[in-house]
Amino acid sequence: MNFDLSDEQKMLAEQARGLLAERSPPARLRQLIGEGAELDAPLWRELGEMGFLGAAIAEAHGGLGLTALDLAVISLELGRANACLPFFSSVVLAGGALSACGSAAQQAAWLPGIASGEKIGTFAYAEGPADWRAALPATTFAATSGNEGRITGTKSPVADGGVAGFAVVLVNAGGAQAFALVDLDQPEVSRTRLDSFDQLRGHHAISFAGAKAELLAGDADTLARLLDQAAVQAAFEAVGGAQACLTMAREYALDRQIFGRSLASYQAIKHRLADIAVAIELALSNAYYAGWAAQNAPDELPAAAAAARLTALAAFKNAARENIQVHGGIGYTFEANCHFYYRRERTLALSLGGREVWADRLIAHSA
């Protein structure tokens, strides 16, 4: 047994962390928000050139052919930096769906672009407040010939829907859940930018009026597996965010003097941060196991992914809230960096189904 990242994975993490700290510092995030940007385009290109976007894509399609755990190492660093990038939508979800159930032709057409960053995909599943897991989607796919057809309906909110060139859309195809691959740059597609709670991850409503689409070979089981895989990556992203919050809160507390001594010397602060540190380590341990299981023990993935997801989001939630609390009033200002994480935490907590959904998955799959 060896329960630690490999030296190569640690190096990859260091590389990603260094690059993101340099290119995507808080000042850059504030600038992007000011510009109303939905994508840090130069950084995205750079990540593509360095191979980060294709880490888990097969070498035959221009990727590095690495494992889920390698990808997770990058997810964690993106969470720490809170970068304004569609990594989760494009690489994890759209790329994951194509790798899992795309035909050879579909993979050849889209995966190299995802790996290089030239193509951005997203996964369109929600339809307003309706429970997208319980019922068939209202968005329908009508076949025209073979796996080709047209889709009609509205998906909302769609993360990174403004910058994506294509989407994997969850549809009702003849009474069954299916994935439709849709080029978003066609006249039958219209997008409306929504007021996204997370200022560094844009959301859109996307309407399809008989838009050309083709089916992927996925069904409800594929969807469940895809969501498990994505939950693992989201858990790593959340752990990265939580670690950033803990670091920030700790540094601020060490720096701040109050009633004649360091704020960090009060047990009210020490104990709070100790609890966050514990929650982060539990979450990271679950995430490591889930990342390993994703590659090596598929039967154990559902429970492992759900546990990682639940503990990571619990840690991030607490860390994001208490980070502002430890900062006091300054934490409420745009110039402090706490708010990026306070908003991102909600994005992660609500995406792919909330706590109840993953609680049920864990109970159902726990031996």
């Binding site: 060896n2 941060l273 679950n286 619990a314």
Partner: protein
């Protein structure tokens, strides 16, 4: 990252499994079997003897001390395999194997190692811990029990010990005690301490069981009145008491095994709790599922964090205060989960029928869960340790630091 056994680990697992299959069933508890304390002690000693004869006692202890000289991972593997059998071992056994052997290995003289290690490994010598006092709990170094030499005594003469210890688990069954006492009150509190091995049958040692909130008496008060301890039973140098205590306590926190999966048992208990008209159960409630799933997820996190720490130890790295994280997480989560179990069960959990073993168990566990948050490092102490040693935050204000004990 690899969760599979290496070839060496697989070979060890096969060896352990075969040996256990041949020897464990005769020692395991039968379905529903409950033991009185004395019988549990006897059975625990018998199993320890079997382990010794089979070469599985003290797996990580060096061979020259009678152990197997194996790795931390082998100890984990053995524990995993052993826990498939419900064998009564008793907490007194682990005080000897976990604490006494650990402190002997680090601080004992060759004579002391030769005298105590083998009988302890064989289960013939059991130990208790004489650390805490009425005014020395989390602040252990505040202890007042005195170890003095008689006037005119010379080096090598015996010590006379007077004082009172408390919370000494199973001291009433133990053969020997690990004692820390103050030899010099003119020194600052941590410096004036020395460590002794005391025969619990020595005149002047009196244990009185404490009536606990559980109704049981696992713990004792131990009164020491003019107890004479040969200088040969001093562990380490005079003044090494605190270092010895730290060695003992570090062994307390790095458990080699994973605890049983108690939350899953709770899930099943709640599934057996009927609700609604048509065969429904209490798991039909989303609120219950969410709370249980969070506990399940945290329990898994504790297990995998332990695996990470063991990986560190097996490489010779020191996980330090990270080991405290598991205990802190476990103790709080466990109490919360047990309380939840009672709430979900409803009024039925308040009054158990004599044959309702699961509900009776819940009563016991919920009471016992309070101990886990206090003993072996209270929640608050562990939070301080994590904040100071892992996060590098400042220590608390300590007016007692560097002040002679008798001037505090």
């Amino acid at each position: 990252m690899d969760f599979n056994d290496t070839p060496e680990e697989a070979a060890f697992r096969a060896e352990a499994r075969a040996w256990l299959a041949a020897h464990a069933p005769a020692h395991a508890l039968r379905e529903g079997e409950r033991l009185e304390d004395a019988e549990e002690a006897r059975r625990g000693r018998a199993w320890q003897r079997a382990l010794y004869d089979g070469g599985f006692a003290g797996i990580t202890l060096p061979r020259e001390l009678g152990g197997r000289g194996g790795t931390v991972i082998e100890a984990v593997v053995f524990h995993e395999e052993e826990s498939r059998y419900n064998i009564p071992k008793g907490p007194y056994i682990t005080i000897g194997l976990g604490m006494a052997l650990h402190v002997l290995a680090h601080h004992g003289s060759p004579e002391q190692k030769a005298r105590y290690c083998e009988p302890t490994l064989k289960g013939e010598m059991t130990w208790c811990q004489l650390f805490s006092e009425p005014s020395a709990g989390s602040d252990l170094a505040n202890l007042r029990t005195k170890a003095a030499k008689e006037e005119g005594a010379r080096e090598g003469d015996e010590w006379v010990v007077n004082g009172q210890k408390v919370w000494s688990s199973w001291a009433h069954h133990a053969d020997w005690g690990l004692l820390v006492a103050r030899h010099d009150p003119s020194l600052p509190k941590h410096k004036g301490l020395s460590f002794f091995l005391v025969d619990m049958k020595t005149p002047g040692v009196e244990t009185r069981p404490i009536r606990q909130i559980s109704g049981a008496s696992d713990f004792n008060e131990t009164f020491l009145t003019d107890v004479r301890i040969p200088d040969a039973n001093r562990l380490g140098k005079v003044g090494d008491g605190w270092a010895c205590c730290m060695t003992v306590l570090s062994s307390e926190r790095i458990g080699s095994g994973s605890p049983r999966e108690a939350v899953q048992e709770m899930v099943e208990y709640i599934r057996r709790t009927g609700r609604g008209a048509d065969g429904g159960n209490a798991l039909d409630s989303a609120a219950n599922r969410v709370a249980l799933a969070q506990a399940l997820a945290e329990e898994r996190g504790e297990k995998y964090l332990a695996a990470r720490l063991r990986t560190m130890i097996s490489r010779g790295e020191d996980p330090g205060a990270m080991a405290a994280m598991i205990k802190l997480a476990y103790a709080g989560r466990n109490q919360k989960m047990l309380g939840l179990g009672m709430e979900v069960r409803g009024l039925d959990a308040l009054a158990a029928a004599p044959d309702a073993g699961d509900t009776l168990g819940l009563h016991y566990e919920y009471i016992w869960s309070t101990v886990m948050r206090i003993a072996g490092g209270a929640d608050e102490v562990l939070r301080n340790q994590i904040a100071e040693r892992v996060l590098g935050m400042p220590g608390d204000w300590r007016p007692d630091k560097n002040v002679p004990f008798d001037q505090l």
